[in-house]
Amino acid sequence: MSEEERKAETTAPQAPSAASAANRAAGAGESGAKAEAKPAAAKAQAAKAAPPDPRVEAAKAVAEQIKQVLVREFGEAAVEETGVAHRTPMVRVRKQDWPKAVEFLRTHPDWKLNYAECMAGTDYPDYIEIVLYVQSTELGHFVCLKTRTDRDPAEVPSLVASHPGLNWEEREIYDLLGVRFTGHPDLRRIMMWEGFKGHPLRKDYREWD
């Protein structure tokens, strides 16, 4: 990645990224994407209204493709939202279909999202969101999958069956955010001690209650 490109992009949230998997997925050559990114970013500086970043657009397209695949398998209601998380294709799946969808994408020959990189939970005012960044080591896709649950009771089906490596991540989310993962083989607190009250990463957690 050359230096001039960096100079071209300073404000818009579209820093020169690593070879985004999304680009490859969309078939857009990396260099091509960059070449387009330059004038795009330059314009972005001139006029505040940022024209669409091609990489973001590509990611959106990928998200749409995933949605197609999932809808074909699980029905229209399974996918609640598609979009983009920064420059990563994002698909939000209905809670009930969450493990099935993840497992489906893990084995799907076109996607093979076999490597769970990061799982996180975030407490929003009205819901808790579980985010899973998955990578296909073979095909290079990098996708952000999401699901949502109510805050109370917070309950999401567990992914441990398809990704055993998420065992502790789910325990951590249970511990710190209070999301109960149904079907988890060993759902106990992991960071806090047994008998600890509350879930500290919730926004409404107060220590001295």
């Binding site: 960096r6 820093a15 990224s17 998380a85």
Partner: protein, 395 residues
């Protein structure tokens, strides 16, 4: 060490709280087993920190194991929610305290990605140099402690000699020996002092010599081979399922290095190889550390040749960093695997949510699988080779 349950009983912990542990002894009164629960840790010389491993053993064979963590939990993620982005950097130093530079960078990198910042050329090179030196220092310590775990005392003291040189160089560049707080969003805090780069240049051949020495001293040792060959073996599929990263993944022969697979910073300008193992056993994991140090030296050498002589080291960064609303994740190749930061921003100067993808934490999960059916002496060999840093596991 009395049995856990007994201890808890004696301390007056009610019986229903004993649910705390998954492992329990077969308390069928008719079956007289020789099973016992052994607490390895939380204070144990080979757990590399405050880490407890509850193992169920029969004789010296491990039937099952349960890692118990959280003794070092400081709630970094929660703390970060009340800190401005620059203020978070010192906290990252304390995650994997053996590779603080890499942690610094991982956070800065994610924020820079989010902001789309321009990083000055010289800063990028300085970052790469300190990161690779840090990787060497961290790998050195792995080799030392691993050999110490296996009962060889000297390598542990040898590695500190080289590490000391690296730490001294870090001290010169940022004034700290362990928690550097060197990187800033948009560059690095200080330029290299005069003569510093020459010092690094002089270090490279010295380090190459020493790597050769370790290779001679350790790699061919019959006892060492006997204790690590074929121990703690797993295949690529298992590694991917468990989300392992770094050397724990590469030892299975799977060339997955984020510096190549998702190049960040200026790693695409350097020539280096991704050493991979062949069997996925403890020996491979040890040996990859040696090989990776060589590759890191190669990168340092190239960076020293390419680095511009002068220039700014901190880009144009607003005083108050506000990350645009959105979600950002980026991972880098840390010393122990993929070190990622996931940031949810609501457009303020503090993250709404910060999640750290901690390589040690993820890598440690495979441990019970590896330990089942092993001899208790292999426990240490396997645990040591997973290469955890408890500051990171517990965050």
């Amino acid at each position: 060490m009395a049995q856990t349950e007994e201890t808890l009983e004696r301390l007056g912990v009610p019986a229903d709280k004993l649910e705390h542990h998954r492992l329990r002894l077969d308390d069928d009164p008719d079956v007289r087993t020789e099973e016992m629960l052994l607490n390895v840790g939380p204070q144990h010389p080979s757990t590399h920190g405050v880490f407890r491993l509850l193992v169920k053993i029969r004789g010296e064979t491990i039937l099952d194991a349960e890692p118990v963590i959280g003794y070092l939990h400081r709630g970094t993620e929660k703390l970060a929610e009340d800190l401005q982005y620059t203020q978070i950097i010192p906290y990252t130093d304390r995650l994997d305290y053996l590779a603080a530079m890499l942690n610094n960078y991982a956070l800065c990198h994610t924020v820079e990605e989010a902001l789309g910042l321009e990083i000055p050329e010289r800063a990028e090179y300085l970052r790469v140099i300190v990161m690779e030196l840090q990787r060497i220092a961290s790998h050195l310590l792995f080799i030392g402690t691993y050999l110490l775990d296996l009962g060889a005392m000297s390598p542990f003291l040898y590695v500190f000699q080289e590490r000391e040189r690296i730490v001294q160089m870090f001290n010169k560049i940022c004034g700290a020996r362990l928690t550097y707080n060197y990187m800033r969003i948009g560059g690095v805090k200080w330029d290299a002092p005069p003569g510093w780069l020459d010092e690094v240049r002089a270090f490279v051949p010295f380090m190459k010599e020493r790597i050769k020495m370790y290779d001679d001293l350790i790699t061919g040792n019959e006892i060492f081979l006997n204790r690590t060959r074929g121990i703690g073996q797993y295949d690529t599929e298992t590694a991917l399922k468990y989300g392992l990263s770094g050397i724990n993944l590469r030892c299975t022969g799977f060339a997955w290095d984020l510096r190549r697979k998702k190049p960040y910073s200026i790693y695409d300008r350097f020539e280096f190889d991704i050493p991979v193992g062949t069997r996925g056993d403890c020996f491979d994991r040890y040996y990859l550390h040696l090989l990776e140090m060589q590759q890191s030296l190669r990168i340092v050498e190239q960076a020293l040749d390419q680095i511009p002589d002068s220039g700014p080291v901190l880009g144009k960064v607003p005083k108050l960093i506000r990350v645009p609303k959105g979600e950002y994740y980026s991972g880098i190749e840390g010393a122990r695997g993929e070190l990622g930061f996931y940031i949810v921003s609501d457009g303020k100067d503090k993250p709404y949510r910060l999640k750290i993808r901690k390589p040690s934490f993820v890598n440690l999960q495979l441990l019970p699988e590896l330990l089942r059916g092993q001899n208790i002496a292999n426990l240490i060999a396997i645990l040591g080779a997973v290469d955890i840093v408890l500051g990171e596991v517990d965050a």
